[in-house]
């Protein structure tokens, strides 16, 4: 089993979700995170004091997948989330030993 983690721009979430659904991904776990990278945040000025907001909002998606699907899924995310502008995000893949569905106790292939 593999865990695909993708950090993308928030307004791309909807497109990514649709593309993954079409491919057959039925589950994932999503969270709001802040990104730090080449894409710089912005500056806010409050009553004469300047604040450098270094972080930009991102969406982080975690998907547990069969080994065989990992590459395709990475490809789909990269393709769909791409705008070509700095800050589009990263996707990474790591191995996992096992995954269990809490409701049934099913493991691995049967769990996702």
């Amino acid at each position: 089993m593999k865990l695909v983690t993708a950090v993308i721009k928030p307004h791309k979430w909807e497109d990514v979700r649709e593309a993954l659904e079409t491919f057959g991904v039925t589950g994932m776990t999503v969270s709001e995170v802040s990104g730090y990278g080449r894409q710089k945040g912005h500056t806010e000025v409050y009553r004469g004091a300047e604040y450098d907001i270094a972080l930009v909002p991102k969406i982080r998606i975690e998907i547990v997948v069969d080994d065989a699907d990992a590459d395709d899924i990475v490809g789909i995310v990269v393709k769909t989330a791409q705008t070509g502008r700095i800050g589009d995000g990263k996707v990474w893949v790591s191995g996992i030993d096992t995954v269990v569905r809490v409701r049934t106790g099913d493991r691995d292939g049967a769990a996702i």
Partner: protein, 436 residues
């Protein structure tokens, strides 16, 4: 004097109307984020329903001329305000706002779990069986007024009515004791929230609660200072009395509230080690409740004393529900029933004219207690009847799973907040602007 009075009554009615949205904030902030909208909707819908019911038969039942057994008046006499005209429309409006908020107050006891349809059915029947009759009895010359044949007259009969008339300036019995008892009965009928006493059910947004408390205080000036009644004075006498009475009532309302806030905070500091903002907001409301019946009868210093006591006692009383095991979720009992009783009974002790501590004997005290007890019994029975009826017809409680997911989604199909991206604040760094 009429014109100045009219100006103030227009302001007062508007202020009391504002109290119900303010209550929605006060209660809403104390709810969890998954049920804040339902909590606010109970207040808002009470405005819609009671406003209309009041015009249809509420005014007639409360202040109509066709008294029935000193308990209420004929609902059909002035149905839809037939035959009402002129400045009386404003009196109707002012009284309407009291009925609205009394119903809304009850909602604090049933947070998170009452079907919205049950609320919509409960409210109009409850005001009809409990609020309008009590308003008639206390203010409409009925059984709890000083009138001949009334309760006070039965106890200490006087010349053409009671020797000692019961005092309820702006609604200690009619509004607060009434709503408090109704909250208790409904909470018992409904049962505890899932996880009550085990899971965290802390306020989700205390800034809302504090805005609510501030606006309630503001609105309460209409509630108390607008509740002046000239008695049998006329002309210049009435005018002079109005000037002096409203001045005193305004000040008493303020300083009792100050006292209650400090009383509540002092209890918290001693008991829990910390004085909380929820305590300050709650103390404000407890003080306002307690001074409501008493605001015309006390001196400013007496009001401070009443406030201190009310704040301290209510701060203790809100813990009772855990001991006794009823889930009065947002403390309608601990604040409104207890606070209302303290004010109503406190008059018997602290009234500058009639109070025990001012050497005027126990008669006022006895009358006040008797009225409070009667009101509690009436409200209790009426609420029980309406509650059981509603339970039969539409059912009272939502499903357990829905309660866990949150009543906002179930009943209103909404979630209060959508704060995506409200977190970009993690650690930006800070430089001084060059230009500053």
């Amino acid at each position: 004097m009429d014109y100045g009075l009219q100006a103030w009554m227009l302001a007062s009615a508007s202020l009391v109307l504002l109290m119900t949205p303010a209550l929605a904030l006060f209660y809403g902030g104390m709810s969890r984020s998954k049920s804040v909208l339902n909590m606010m909707m109970m207040s808002f819908s009470a405005m819609g329903i009671v406003g209309i019911v009041y015009v249809l038969w509420g005014w007639s039942m409360s202040y109509g001329s066709q008294d029935i057994a000193m308990l209420f008046a004929n609902p059909f006499e002035l149905f839809g305000l037939r035959d009402v005209e002129g400045a009386t429309y404003l009196t109707v409006g002012f009284q309407l706002t009291f009925a609205v908020i009394t119903a809304a107050l009850i909602s604090g006891a049933v947070a998170d779990r009452l079907k919205f349809s049950a609320w919509l059915v409960f409210v109009p029947i409850w005001v009809t069986l409990s609020y309008f009759p009590l308003a008639h009895m206390v203010w409409g010359g009925g059984f709890l007024s000083g009138a001949t044949g009334g309760l006070a007259d039965m106890i200490f009969s006087g010349d053409g009515g009671a020797q000692v008339a019961p005092i309820d300036y702006a609604g200690g019995t009619v509004v607060h004791i009434n709503a408090g008892v109704a909250g208790l009965v409904l909470a018992l009928l409904l049962g505890k929230r899932l996880g009550f006493g085990r899971e965290p059910m802390k306020p989700h947004n205390l800034t809302l609660t504090m805005i609510g408390a501030g606006l309630l205080w503001f609105g309460w000036f209409g509630f108390n200072v607008g509740s002046w009644i000239p008695g049998d004075l006329t002309g210049d006498e009435a005018g002079a009395y109005w000037l002096s009475e409203t001045s005193l009532v305004w000040l008493n309302t303020t300083v009792a509230t100050c006292g209650a806030m400090l009383g509540w905070l002092a209890v918290e500091k001693m008991r829990d080690g910390k004085a909380t903002s929820l305590g300050a907001a709650s103390g404000v409301v407890a003080g306002l409740v307690a001074i409501t019946p008493a605001c015309g009868a006390l001196s400013p210093v007496g009001s401070i004393v009443l406030g201190l006591v009310a704040g301290a006692v209510c701060a203790l009383a809100v813990g009772l529900k855990y001991r006794l095991g009823y889930d009065d979720s947002l403390d309608v009992v601990g604040v409104h029933l207890v606070g209302g009783l303290i004010g109503t009974v406190g008059i018997g002790l602290l009234a500058t004219s009639g109070g025990l501590l001012y050497g005027d004997g126990v008669k006022q005290l006895v009358v006040q207690v008797a009225v409070a007890v009667f009101a509690m019994v009436w409200s209790g029975i009426a609420t029980l009847a309406v509650g059981l009826l509603v339970k039969m017809v539409v059912g009272l409680r939502i499903e357990g799973d829905d309660e866990i997911e949150g009543i906002d989604g179930l009943e209103h199909g909404e979630s209060a907040y959508d704060l995506v991206g409200a977190r970009s604040g993690i650690g930006g760094s800070h430089h001084l602007a060059e230009g500053a």
